[in-house]
Amino acid sequence: MLKYKKGQVWIGTEAMAEQFYFYRYPFQFTNYFKTWKNKYQLHVKIQVISATSLKKRFRAEEFLNQSKKNQQCDLIEIESKIKEDSRLVKIAEKAGKNEKIQQDLNSLAEQLRLGNKSPGTGTKTLFKGVKEARARSGARLYFREKNGKIEVLVKLTKNSKDRKDVVTILRKKYE
């Protein structure tokens, strides 16, 4: 509502539909609200859409933090090397059959992409250059960093019978 005029500027408050306030991102008024013949017409337009109290808290802090995070994130490129070895493909496919494990494997990869070097329950070094990201569900993702990229070498589970063999395969390929 227009309250008072300060110099050439009108100072006022605006009321908006409650649902707008649940949006994570800011909103803009369409031209419909920007044009009016007189202040009474604007008043009517705003009254038509307002449903409850004119006061509503907008959680600006949450939005600003989100925005800050987005600006800070340097996404790291991820490349899967699994397909280069049919044995590793089979092992990864086996792990992915469990929905929860697959979900956590995706989450581990996403965290690495976002620059979190120790997602889940922590990362372990298997041998020089090759690390293991671990989730509480038992998901294990083996990877290495090369030329600023993350290379996913294999995905498996904590209980996989192939774990020792996998390390042997990876040592031959990458050590």
Binding site: K100, S118, T121, G122, K124, T125, L126, E132, R134, A135, R136, S137, G138, T157, K158, N159, K161, R163, K164, V167
Partner: protein
């Protein structure tokens, strides 16, 4: 049941803080059966909660809790879990693989 061998996918000497970490442990028993369990420290539980900004530890495979991550302490803890036909060792190992209808059947009994 007797332990034949204890080994680690990630060498134990890579552990930076033996009082604040968790690791996978391969356990081979005398009868040839093999199990993988997670051994962690009490401090690490708090570290994980803080890292994930949570007031509790997210559900998942249980940890065998030890004071510190040394071979001597891990051996003792694993040994304790191999008693009674390695019941607790097996429970730790299979914890993520048990179908939930099994719990329903146990509840019915």
């Amino acid at each position: 049941m007797l332990i034949k061998k204890i080994s680690f996918p990630s060498p134990l000497e890579y552990t930076e803080d033996i009082y604040d970490d968790n690791l996978d442990v391969f356990v081979e028993l005398e009868n040839g059966s093999e199990y993988t369990v997670i051994v962690g420290t009490p401090k690490n539980l708090l570290t994980l909660m803080n890292r994930h900004e949570m007031d509790f530890l997210e559900p998942g495979c249980p940890f065998i809790i030890v004071k510190k991550l040394t071979m001597e302490v891990i051996k003792k803890a694993i040994h304790a879990h191999t008693q009674d036909d390695a019941y607790w060792l097996k429970l730790h190992y299979f914890s993520g693989s048990i179908e939930s209808d099994m719990f329903d059947r146990l509840q019915e009994d």
